[in-house]
Amino acid sequence: MTVEELQIKILKALEQNHRITAKTLATMFGVTEEEILQTISAMEEAKVILGYVTLIDWEKTGHNNHVTAIIDVQVTPQRDVGFDTIAERISRFPEVKGVYLVSGGYDLSITVEGTTLKQVAFFVSEKLATLENVKSTVTHFVLKKYKQDGIIFNDGKKDHRLVVSP
């Protein structure tokens, strides 16, 4: 197995579950735990692995003070840099959780998170809409989450199989 092959195998496994242990990965791919840990570190340093996030259903906790909005933004592209400068600027705001350049009727699709509706609305009107080169914004507040990052909320998935079968 080449280094690249091992890297891809590790990435695919981590993408499904980043809490899988180095020991399990080592057994799976027939290499040592050290090799796994080193390969992962190297990929973290190279920013191939950017981070590990946890998907939480805040609705199920007593702390449901999360408001999410998806915002369509039209911007004026700038000479030489196109959309990059403005997109990077928007990305710097901690309230902004996602920024994508998209095709279609507007240019950037961004997701914003806050604790109250008011806070998010304030962010849009005061910080986002006022940026130079931002032509317009359309804000969609998220009312209910059904699926995110490939995971279904309230899936209720159970193993219905018989415990032993031929």
Partner: protein, 400 residues
């Protein structure tokens, strides 16, 4: 007192060796099961959707005995693309209630009383009872771990008698995970020809091979005329509960099997057939995904079992490993019962698949990586405890 109503031959048929274990394991809580012979994935959503849609559109009726024409056409296309086979959808395909029904039909259609079916073991639990219920007699051939549980030409030749009619071949194999290469199959084909045998090829795991693509027995020169090819949707498309399988064979054999099918079953359920059409048309990508997952788990469980002192050869197909437990000195049944009681891990004793499976256990890796990892940890603990116990015993024996 009334006379016995159940006929003698059936009363004498032993129950499946899996049954007892099922009862034991089902009565316990917190069991991690590596004893399951079906995919842990749900049927891919687009296939389920097609089933639901067919119901909504009112497809709730019988189909022709041999199955929906569109499904049979798709099956022929698939067999052509995958294995280079050329079957006629109108006369050479029969859609059945799972591969299980196809196995039963094939045996019932061809066996005269007392004619022999050669069954390499360890094997799927249904072959022997179905042979007996069809009036045939079983001639089992043990395969060996040293040969990676392949059927050797020598062993086959030795098993053949003047009464032999059928060779039942099942690769990739349940419970061993063994596969056979084209070259190896060609050697068997020569003997099949020479002794004028019919082959029932249960290739239900044909999509689940991890090194080389599966070679269908029917695709070997001269073999299509003497093969009943059996396959289905249960394993490849995670569709066990839909109960759709099929047989592909020369028209004369399909006609005979259809006779039994039309009077006993009528037809396979229509919503399952509709879903199966969708599986063949658009199921390749999801199937690849599942195969890739199985493959990762396969290395995890093979390496993991070896590390804890349970040697196993690397299975090339299906989703089973068949490690040897001979070093523990326990029988398969003892090992499995103790493992279940002490560590709540369910695996299946190898002798459930034939005598020569004794000394082995079947572990299925149709389970998540997390489950397999936990099961391996528990089995490791179990193996260490066994080793300590046997050291103690030896120590007492050798006390001066």
């Amino acid at each position: 007192m009334s006379r016995p109503f159940v006929k003698k031959s059936l009363a004498e048929l032993p129950p499946s060796g899996i049954r007892k274990f099922f009862d034991l394991a089902s009565a316990m809580d917190g069991v991690i099961s590596l004893g399951v012979g079906e995919p842990d994935f749900d049927t891919p959503w687009h296939i389920r959707e097609a089933g639901v849609y067919s119901l909504e559109k009112g497809f709730t009726n019988y189909t022709t005995n041999c199955g929906l024409e569109e499904l049979r056409r798709e099956i022929c296309l698939y067999l052509g693309q995958k294995f280079g086979l050329d079957y006629d959808y109108s006369s050479e395909i029969l859609v059945t209630v799972g591969a299980s029904e196809a196995i039963d039909l094939a045996l019932r259609a061809v066996l005269e009383t007392g004619e022999e079916v050669i069954i390499p073991e360890p094997s799927f639990v249904a072959y022997k009872p179905c042979t007996i219920m069809a009036g045939g007699s079983c001639r089992t051939v043990p395969t060996r771990e040293e040969d990676h549980f392949k059927l050797s030409p020598a062993a086959l030749e030795e098993a053949i008698t003047p009464r032999s009619k059928v060779l039942l071949l099942s690769y990739p194999n349940n419970p061993t995970g063994a596969v056979m290469t084209k070259a190896e199959l060609l050697q068997l084909a020569r003997l099949v020809q020479q002794h004028d045998l019919l082959v029932i090829a249960d290739e239900i795991y044909s999509e689940l091979t991890y090194a080389e693509p599966h070679v269908s027995f029917a695709a070997l020169p001269g073999m299509k005329e003497r093969t009943v090819l059996i396959n289905g949707f249960s394993k490849a498309f995670a569709m066990t509960g839909w109960r759709i399988g099929y047989a592909a064979a020369p028209a004369e054999l399909i006609a005979a099997m259809t006779k039994i099918h039309q009077y006993t079953i009528m037809c396979a359920p229509i919503m399952g057939q509709m879903a199966a059409i969708e599986a063949l048309k658009n199921g390749a990508a999801q199937m690849e995904m599942m195969r890739e997952q199985y493959n990762g788990r396969r290395s995890l469980i093979v390496n993991g079992l070896r590390q804890i002192g349970l040697p196993c050869f690397e299975p090339g197909g299906a989703f089973y490993v068949f490690p040897s437990i001979k070093a523990t000195g326990l029988s398969s049944q003892q090992f499995c019962e103790m493992l279940l009681k002490e560590e709540k891990v369910a695996v299946v004793p190898g002798d459930a698949f034939g005598h020569c499976g004794e000394g082995h256990i079947r572990c299925s890796y149709a389970s998540s990586v997390e489950q397999i990892s936990t099961a391996l940890e528990r089995m490791d603990r179990f193996m260490q405890r066994l080793a300590r116990r046997s050291r103690k015993k030896t120590a007492t024996v050798f006390k001066p």
